[in-house]
Amino acid sequence: MAPRKKPRKTPTKAQLDAKAEPQEHTFSVLVANEAGVLARVVGLFSGRGYNIDSLTVSEVDEEEHLSKITIVTTGTPMIIEQIRAQLERLVPVRRVADLTVEGPSVSRELALVKVKGRGEKRVESLRIADIFRAHVVDSTNNSFVFEIVGDTGKLDAFIELMQPLGLIDVSRTGVVAIARGAEEM
């Protein structure tokens, strides 16, 4: 992966609809994996009052010590543009991609969903899990832990269906995303 940030065209007033409603955007941020880098990114969002809907981070290149942070955020076009410029300004940030606007991308999230129940409800939860291609990764005689992978909407739907069937706990990874196609980031 080449280390330099590519210069990018700043949008003009005409491209930034001042009256547009806030919209959800997914940013992929490649950073040097050094101490405090996550604090810098998170501090930027809290310090400037931007939303974080979801945040994931993990090392992706051991040799180059690079990590990737995926952030889902919501804002008006002007705010989204600010978030991008502010992220690019951080010294350890190598690359920022707004996957929502830069061509097609795929995003996935994993959830572990614990459901407690007996009898009819237990059977129903298994049936729904099957439809959603969720796997059972733990079970006792009155509980299951399901593992489900998909986009955020699919996970939301599954969790909602589990609600009346004895849902007692959920852990979600947050969104990871990547651009489609053969291009590197």
Partner: protein, 585 residues
């Protein structure tokens, strides 16, 4: 060639020498003792022992702003480091290149609540452009060079390097600045050609243009101010400069409209409001300039040149964004303008200047000095006239005196005016003046202050006297936190609350005690002699000038109001922008 190994303390000094650092403003402590031991054994880099670490950072800022070179501050761990925070944020807000080195407890104790431990990198993360905790002496030289690089490249700012005691004591390899290039930090210097072409064509077509320039021009180096001046002169456009940009275009030229914003001139604000093309060069549409953003220059096409992409479209969306360094973009603007043989719309400009002339005729900075108490406006106008053409640098504190200084002192060159703009830090002026004087030993340095601000870092008068720096402090003593009193008068029912300073200390005795030559004036007739005397004495001088307690700074656009809501004078008269004026737009 095999690299030689050095002790951490030596590496720090070698790195500072290789970065051409002549002076460091610092204060020692437990964990930096081994570094001070090395400092004491060399004389390449001068160390100025300040009285408080906040003063060290402001001094470094003053040095940086007046010389164009990065300023360097040094503090110990814990309380030394926390004392630097205000100075760091000040430098961050005003984009001043400062490198601050702090000591840290030994690596093995970090996180243990050790004596004088503070999470310095955590505390200063939002207070700096970037910061580092050095984990090993092997990294020390590289990190320091990188810190200088980051502080001075792109939009400048403060960078902090936190160095544990064991790293100062340990041994490591030295690398020079030429061997260090930060992996990811590569700001864009050259503006995009297509955008610059679009910008100059828009300028040529303008009927009511204005050039609005700011601190970015100063930060870009003196060449940028020359190019800006060339652009203004070539186009015949009016020019306004922000508080941070004063001096980027000579104040004495007729095309200069003064400062825009809350305490800007009528002509600058009305021209900003009514223009059809606004050329923002290195300014950032700060809220003190724009007022109410919905009503800010509603009919203009806006060009914005800035080295920091995050400054563009932050407060005000613009039509032609240009990312790049002011020097480079201004040079390209001039070149492309000439290559295309562009011409301005002369008849339209003539009409525009006629309109501007009407606003200028209202003389929004006019005042009358009667035989009552000295007015600050008068004192500062006299300072301007009596030092015209001299080699003078000015720093200020924060409050009414700062705004009057910005309005009544005129700057013909960049780097001559040092004030805390973004953060508005009372206590900036005295230590900043010390830093300026350290960088310009043979020039005259005046700190314009008032007693509230003065008391915030008055301890640095001891440092100034100790080093024999001939700084001149002009204390516009109004016995009050004047700017607070003004807002209480205008916006809080004229009820004064906790702003009176009339029972303050005897400043002349204090000045004398600190080792300054004390001077005083209280009658308008004494002003000239007192100023001449202050400027003449080649020693630290303190001129205590008793001034009016009741004066207010005008013009004034109340916070959050629009430019046409400008209040011109003491009787709360509106500017009376008549219908004709509005129709023009």
């Amino acid at each position: 060639m095999a690299k030689r190994r050095f002790i951490g303390g030596e590496i720090i000094l070698k790195a500072l020498a290789d970065q051409d650092v002549d002076v460091v403003f610092g204060y020692p402590g437990g964990v930096t003792l081994p570094l001070y031991d090395k400092i004491g054994q060399q004389n390449r880099t001068k160390h100025i022992l300040v009285a408080h670490e906040q003063g060290a950072v402001h001094a470094a800022e003053g040095y940086a702003r007046s010389t164009g070179k990065p300023g360097v501050a040094l503090a110990t761990s814990g309380p030394g480091a926390t004392n630097t925070v205000t100075g760091l944020v000040d430098a961050l807000m005003d984009s001043i290149p400062v490198v601050c080195l702090t000591g840290q407890v030994v690596s093995t104790l970090i996180g243990n609540d050790a004596f004088q431990e503070a999470d310095t990198t955590g505390i200063t993360r939002p207070a700096t452009k970037h910061n580092y905790l050095v984990k090993s002496t092997e990294d020390l030289a590289r990190v320091i060079h990188e810190a200088f690089y980051v502080a001075t490249h792109g939009r400048p700012g403060p960078v902090l390097v936190d160095i544990p005691k064991d790293v100062i004591l340990g041994e490591g390899e030295y690398v020079g600045p030429e061997d260090v290039l930060p992996k990811s930090y590569a700001p864009q210097i050259k503006g995009e050609k297509a955008s610059i072409e679009e910008a100059v064509e828009l300028m040529a077509s303008a009927k009511r243009p204005i050039i609005y320039a700011g601190g970015g021009v100063i930060n870009s180096g003196p060449k940028a101010s020359k190019l800006l001046t060339e652009l203004v002169d070539m186009t015949g456009f009016p020019c306004t400069l922000t508080l941070m940009g004063l001096g980027a275009y000579p104040a004495s030229r007729p095309q200069f409209l003064g400062m825009p914003g809350m305490h800007g001139t009528l002509e600058a604000n009305m021209a900003m409001y009514q223009c059809d093309v606004m050329v923002n060069i290195g300014a950032r549409f700060d809220d003190r300039v724009t007022g109410k953003t919905d009503a800010f220059s509603p009919r203009s096409k806006k060009i914005h040149v800035d080295i920091d992409p995050s400054s563009i479209n932050k407060n005000i969306a613009v039509d032609v964004p240009i990312i790049g360094d002011c020097t480079s973009v201004l040079r390209d603007m001039l070149r492309i303008w000439k290559a295309k043989n562009l011409k301005t719309d002369k008849p339209a400009l003539k009409k525009w200047w006629a309109q501007i002339g009407k606003w200028q005729a209202k003389d929004s900075l006019g005042f009358e000095q009667d035989d009552g108490p000295i007015k600050q406006q008068y004192a500062l106008s006299r300072l301007r006239e009596l030092t015209r053409g001299d080699d003078v640098y000015v720093t200020t504190d924060v409050g009414q005196h700062q705004m009057w200084a910005a309005q009544y002192l005129h700057f013909e060159e960049p780097n001559r005016w040092m004030t805390s703009g973004g953060l508005g830090t009372m206590g900036y002026g005295v230590p900043a003046a010390m830093g300026v004087q350290a960088g310009h030993p043979d020039s005259k340095v005046v700190c314009v202050t008032s007693e509230g601000s003065l008391l915030m870092n008055i301890q640095e008068m001891a440092t100034i006297a100790k080093y024999g720096l001939p700084v001149k402090i002009l204390n516009l003593n109004n016995n009050v936190l004047g700017m607070i009193r003004q807002w209480q008068e205008l916006f809080h029912g004229n009820r004064e609350s906790e702003c009176d300073l009339s029972r303050g200390p005897d400043f002349l005795k204090l000045a004398e005690g600190f080792g300054f030559v004390p001077l005083s004036a209280s009658d308008p007739a004494e002003v000239d002699d007192a100023i001449n005397e202050m400027m003449r004495i080649d020693k630290p001088v303190f001129l205590n000038m008793a001034v009016s307690r009741d004066e207010n700074v005008f013009p004034m656009i109340p916070a959050g109001a629009a430019h046409y809501d400008i209040v011109l004078g003491p009787n709360d008269q509106r500017a009376e922008v008549d219908d004709d004026d509005m129709m023009m737009a």
